[in-house]
């Protein structure tokens, strides 16, 4: 019996056991949901946020944001394709993952998430992108030769109709899908919040505000990610940015971050004021285990500093270059802060005992499946996918190749 557990697990758990403060239930030494489950809501949040940003153009006719509409959609897709991977990799039996779709348990939040994910990917995102790009794909198929002709033909599903009526239909269809897409994006990330928020055994998670806090932070991270990529691309390509667009995105980011801040503040104020049984251990948790990641990184660097930057940009009349730099810094800080927020929720919720009498520790593995290396790879993968998507579906091809048809 003894020695049957892998050496690396034994070392990790022995180390974590040595770091325990106070009393914990003995099975609580192991951190059940580790770094990959931090990455998962981070990626999903960016998907939902980027899509909501895109929907501003289609549904609310915010014309200033039009230049990054396609960028936002492709960002959502790139992150969506990776979002399920950390979940899959973290399973004890990844080969049985299909069971979630074939024999789902209706009472399980996690089982239903599988369907929400699939619906969002296949029912919303891919169809929306297809309608948006159909015209371009038809033209690209006409103008290419050999293999690429076939590829573009296949991507356009061999449609050829580019008559005004057909294009009007594309436009209408993509608008309708966006309208369905907004509640779906809300559902997607609100649901991730529900997976945590519905765990009554864990007071750090079990809050009715959790889905809505997750949703708002998702919107913040999605907008910040699109902003980050937009500025980065302009630097790499040495192109001028559309400052009107950037300012508008900055405004939305500011509004989203204020709402997010208000909601999270409400959550903490509510907990502190109600001062339930768990408040003692949760205070210790924040003071002893999460001070840096919560107070310094999430709250100060990830929220208050960017909030200040975004407010300053609106009040002070900075020149274009400085504004660009400030937006870029704000987006990087926000992305860091939201990652920290996911960490504080997922890992934080597993650093105190459900006996409310002690604190655990988490030692992240550097290599292996559930490790830092895998997490970094999963965070880098969406960017690689995005590069491929830019090649296959150039966002600004129409402006250059069919300027009359560009809308």
């Amino acid at each position: 019996m003894s020695g049957a557990i892998p050496q690396s697990l034994h070392e990790q758990l022995s180390h974590q056991l040595s770091q325990v403060v106070g009393f914990i239930y003995p099975n609580e030494v192991e951190t059940q949901w580790a770094i990959l489950i931090v990455v998962y809501p981070y990626l999903t949040g960016i998907v939902a946020g980027a899509f909501i940003l895109a929907s501003l153009v289609k549904v609310f006719n915010v014309v200033e944001v039009q230049p990054i509409y396609r960028l936002a959609l492709l960002t959502a897709l790139a992150f969506m394709l990776v979002a399920g991977m950390p979940l899959q990799l973290h399973l004890g039996h990844p080969e049985r993952a299909y069971e979630i779709f074939f024999t789902p348990q209706p009472t399980s939040a996690m089982a239903m998430f599988g369907f929400v994910y699939l619906w969002y990917l296949l029912g919303i995102l891919l169809i929306e992108i297809w309608f948006e790009y159909r015209h371009q794909l038809v033209l690209m198929a006409q103008r290419s030769r050999g293999l690429m002709k076939g590829v573009y033909g296949a991507l356009s599903l061999f449609s050829k109709d580019v008559s005004a009526e057909a294009l009007a239909f594309d436009h209408k269809a993509s608008k309708i899908i966006t309208i369905i897409g907004i509640p779906s994006a809300f559902l997607l990330h609100g649901y991730v919040g529900f997976i945590f928020g519905s765990v009554k055994a864990n007071p750090w998670w079990g809050s009715v505000l959790m889905p809505i806090v997750f949703l708002m932070s998702a919107i913040v991270s999605g907008i910040a990610m699109v902003m980050f990529i937009y500025i980065l691309l302009s630097l790499l390509r040495n192109e001028r940015l559309d400052m009107r667009c950037l300012d508008k995105v900055g405004l939305f980011l500011l509004v989203a971050i204020i709402v997010d801040f208000a909601l999270e503040a409400l959550d903490y104020i509510h907990r502190i004021y109600q001062s339930e049984e768990s408040i003692g251990i949760l205070t210790e948790l924040v003071a002893a285990r999460l001070f840096t990641s919560l107070v310094i990184v999430q709250l100060l660097l990830g929220m208050l500093v960017p909030l200040l930057i975004l407010v300053l940009v609106r009040i002070v009349n900075f020149n274009e270059e400085l504004r660009k730099l400030l937006y870029f810094s704000a987006s990087v800080l926000i992305l860091l802060g939201i990652f920290s927020m996911r960490w504080n929720v997922v890992i934080g919720g597993q650093l105190y005992s459900k006996s409310f009498r002690g604190l655990m520790a988490y030692k992240m593995e550097i290599t292996g499946i559930e490790s830092l290396v895998t997490a970094l790879a999963l965070l880098a993968l969406p960017f690689i996918i995005l590069i491929v998507l830019f090649r296959v579906l150039p966002p600004r091809w129409m402006e250059k190749n069919a300027p009359a048809a560009a809308h």
């Binding site: 557990i5 758990l13 009393f23 239930y25 003995p26 030494v29 949901w33 996690m110 765990v199």
Partner: protein
């Protein structure tokens, strides 16, 4: 939708429905996965366990018996049952220790601490909740409640997502590193359906654990319930535990 499209969809629909139909029995195959003797009728039982806190001497034999009987890894990170020691001081301060994770019993008795007003041991295990949160959250129905009220895990079906471990308020579950599936106390289901006692109950030298059937008329557990003031752990979570503690101190969570 035109006629052709309708027919195409219809042609696809029926094989898909048939596939789902074929999968349905495995989805409901919970009863089969808990192997029971042929003449065993689960509907006639509703199992529970009584813990007489005053009788527990903290010898840890139940923990050892459980590990041996159920092939629980020896390492001090995985337990189906464990013993907690409580020390309550004059000023109300409480110290708790899990004595089951100790490498070896202390060689010398600890010096007497005059500020300690009371010391006692509390055996812990899965509460076999009548309203189990772990079963509610399992995405594939791998963990389930039998008709006789025992919560089990089907290791053939569990995908190892660990949601149930998060959902258990009592820390009673762990991920078995050998099977990579969730694991927990089964009340020794393989023994109780044969009419035997769970291993921990069998070895307890002081009869601090009373196993029984809450549907039985003259059952020991029913009598235990009748004669003792009973509490359960974390009643506010509405999990309705079937592990009943007699004269439990309010400090125990």
């Amino acid at each position: 939708m035109n006629k052709r499209e309708f027919l195409k969809d219809a042609i696809l629909f029926f094989p898909a429905a048939a596939t789902l139909q074929a999968l349905a029995p495995t989805a409901e195959g919970k009863a089969e996965s808990a192997k029971t003797p042929p003449d065993y009728d689960a509907t006639r039982h509703w199992y529970g366990m009584g813990i007489d806190v005053d009788k527990c001497i903290g010898c840890n034999r139940c923990v050892e018996a459980c590990k041996a009987e159920n092939d629980v890894p020896d390492e001090p990170f995985f337990f189906r049952t464990w013993i907690e020691r409580y020390q309550i001081r004059q000023n109300g301060e409480t110290t708790v220790e899990c004595i089951s994770t100790r490498a070896a019993p202390p060689e010398q008795a600890e010096p007497e601490d005059p500020t300690v007003v009371r010391t006692f041991f509390v055996p812990k295990l899965c509460n076999q909740c009548a309203h189990p949160p772990c079963v509610q959250v399992c995405p594939v129905g791998a963990t389930f409640q039998t008709q006789d009220g025992v919560v089990l895990v089907d290791a053939e079906r569990c995908i190892g997502c660990r949601y149930c471990i998060q959902a258990c308020p009592y820390g009673a579950r762990y991920l078995n590193p050998k099977t990579r599936t969730a694991d927990k106390c089964t009340f020794c289901y393989h023994r109780i359906t044969e009419g035997l006692l769970p291993a921990c109950v069998e070895v307890c030298p002081t009869e601090a654990r009373i196993f029984g059937d809450l549907k039985g008329r003259a059952d020991r557990l029913v009598r235990f319930h009748r004669v003792n003031p009973i509490s359960v752990l974390k009643p506010d979570l509405n999990t309705e535990p079937k592990v009943l503690y007699a004269r439990l101190d309010g400090e125990v969570r």
